[in-house]
């Protein structure tokens, strides 16, 4: 068997074979096709679960490489904390009743106090950066910025009780911006991107789109 057949053609054939079964299920109400869909849903879920190590590998090696490149005390503290937290949380998930420890109080403590608040604080900082952007970028110098300023501010003010309660028409204007010009733009974007995705998808299903399977 040639290398091209094993490394390129057979995987592309697999895309087509399995994909068309799912497509058929959309049009033909045969119970066996629904059973096929359900089976493959669980099958691919288990596949994805088993492959968790790939992300772990990349995450851990990225941190290790950062430490190798920058052997300073602050970096040791930062990377050391990364590895310490990783080991601690994995340890908690094994010590307190693997595999159901993830539903326990000890695990929840980490989730509620570290993850929840760090992520929200990060998004809060992002908001403040956007405030800076409102000041610096939203200047009425071109058609684009005028439209963005008008439509953006209309929707922002529509969501704030102070303006909605005391300025008549703010809610109606904001709803109109979302429901007419923005709707048309989003609808068109959805249409055009879907047509592109449909073409690429159909090409993949008939075996013409080999770039979808590029692996180093």
């Amino acid at each position: 068997m040639s290398t091209t057949l094993i490394r390129r053609d057979l995987p592309v054939l697999i895309i087509a074979l399995f994909g068309w079964g799912i497509v058929a299920e959309l049009f033909v109400p045969w119970p066996v096709l629904t059973q096929y869909k359900n089976f493959m849903a669980t099958f691919t879920t288990i596949m994805g679960n088993a492959a968790f190590g790939i992300g772990t590998f990349y995450g851990v090696t990225a941190e290790y490489n950062m430490l190798k490149r920058n052997r300073t005390l602050p970096q040791f503290i930062v990377s050391g904390s990364f590895f310490a937290m990783l080991i601690m949380v994995v340890g908690v998930s094994f010590i307190y009743g693997f595999p159901n420890a993830v539903l326990g109080n000890e695990y929840k403590w980490f989730t509620y106090n570290f993850y929840t608040w760090q992520a929200q604080a990060q998004y809060g900082v992002m908001f403040l950066y956007q405030c800076g952007a409102v000041y610096r970028v939203l200047r009425l110098r071109s058609m684009e910025t005028i439209v963005i300023s008008f439509c953006g501010l209309a929707f922002i003010l529509r969501s704030i009780p102070l303006f909605v309660s005391f300025i008549p028409g703010v809610m109606e204007l904001g709803d109109w911006v979302v429901g007419a010009p923005s709707l048309g733009g989003t609808r068109a974007a959805t249409l055009t991107t879907s047509i592109g995705s449909l073409v690429v998808g159909l090409r993949a299903l008939i075996g013409k789109e080999q770039t979808t399977l590029e692996v180093r």
Partner: protein, 308 residues
């Protein structure tokens, strides 16, 4: 050739304020309502009214599929939406005989819902007494692990929801059997059997996915009406599917939308508090937008021209 040193005029200074002053200003403006709530009420918008009406206008004997949307990394915006929606569903009177089947599809949901169901989202006593008959909690299931599992769930819920939180197999639960018997095939619990899907997400491509799999999916198409819990920036993505004859009957965008629903239903909660805190943030937005544009136009029309 003489070059004059570039001197910053008032317009330059106004246009290049250090960002840190802006950050501090906004933090102070948002702290004021926390220290002393302003209490400015929201108005109820048409989408919130439609959201509430869709739930209230369900016929007797209807079945609701309720996705407990929990994302702890945006809980301040997501939490109020889920909690007020859950409370509205729990308020449905007993004589309407409405079955609620719920699940969580994120690990955050698995952790948080256990706490919510004994506190903020505690079901009324009659529901607790009739667990398995009028409501079912499947707990954490990989319903939306991928679009394939989502579509498989629409075709047959037992593909992902094999048993509830008490490990009772799905089709042994009385409520599931009752709901499955509403539409053929009568022994399969699928999207045909439900009257409403209350779905939540902050993925802006998720409106496309949920409409594909639960509205236009299936042969014939399921046409399951959807109420969409989301955040503000996914509203434009939901709009193409929104309308009385379209897939998404109504949506609630974040804490602001939750504040509207809390006002409409009288169920005061975190949404109202969050919306209150954003009041002065809006004023700050307008002020800095104005300063930036005053600087821009001032420089353009009145600023000193550079001499070289």
């Amino acid at each position: 050739m003489q070059q004059e040193a570039k001197q910053k005029d008032i317009w330059d200074k106004l246009g290049t304020i250090d960002y840190r002053y802006i950050y501090v200003t906004f933090i102070i403006l948002m702290f004021i309502p926390i220290l002393s709530p302003l209490g400015i009420p929201m108005k109820v918008g048409p989408t919130t009214q439609a959201y509430y009406n869709t739930i209230n206008d369900l016929p007797k004997g209807a079945a609701i599929l309720f996705h407990n949307w929990v994302s702890l990394d945006i809980w301040s915006d997501n939490g109020p939406v889920l909690i007020v929606t859950g409370k509205v569903l729990w308020r449905i009177p007993q004589d309407k005989d409405i079955t609620i089947i719920m699940y969580q599809s994120t690990s955050d949901g698995a952790i948080k819902m256990k706490d919510l169901l004994v506190a903020d989202l505690k079901p009324p006593q009659w529901r607790l007494d009739t667990y398995g008959k009028t409501w079912v909690n499947f707990g954490y299931q990989l319903v939306y692990y991928s679009e394939l599992t989502f579509g498989a769930t629409a075709a047959d819920m037992t593909s992902t929801c094999k048993a509830d939180i008490y490990n009772t197999p799905t089709m042994n639960i009385e409520a599931c059997k009752k709901v499955a018997a509403k539409a053929p095939p009568y022994d399969v619990l699928n999207a045909y059997d439900f009257d409403l899907f209350v779905f939540g997400s902050w993925g802006c491509t998720d409106p496309d996915v949920v409409v594909r799999q639960w509205w236009t999916g299936g042969a014939p198409p399921y046409r399951l009406p959807i109420l969409f819990m989301t955040i503000g920036n996914c509203v434009p993505n939901a709009m193409p599917y929104y309308g009385p004859t379209n897939a998404i009957k109504a949506f609630i965008p974040g804490a602001a939308g939750a504040a509207e629903l809390e006002l409409l239903t009288g169920l005061k909660g975190e949404g109202t508090k969050m919306a209150d805190i954003t009041d002065l943030g809006g004023i700050g937005t307008l002020i800095f937008f104005a300063i930036g544009n005053v600087a821009f136009f001032g420089k353009r029309f009145f600023g000193k021209k550079e001499v070289t």
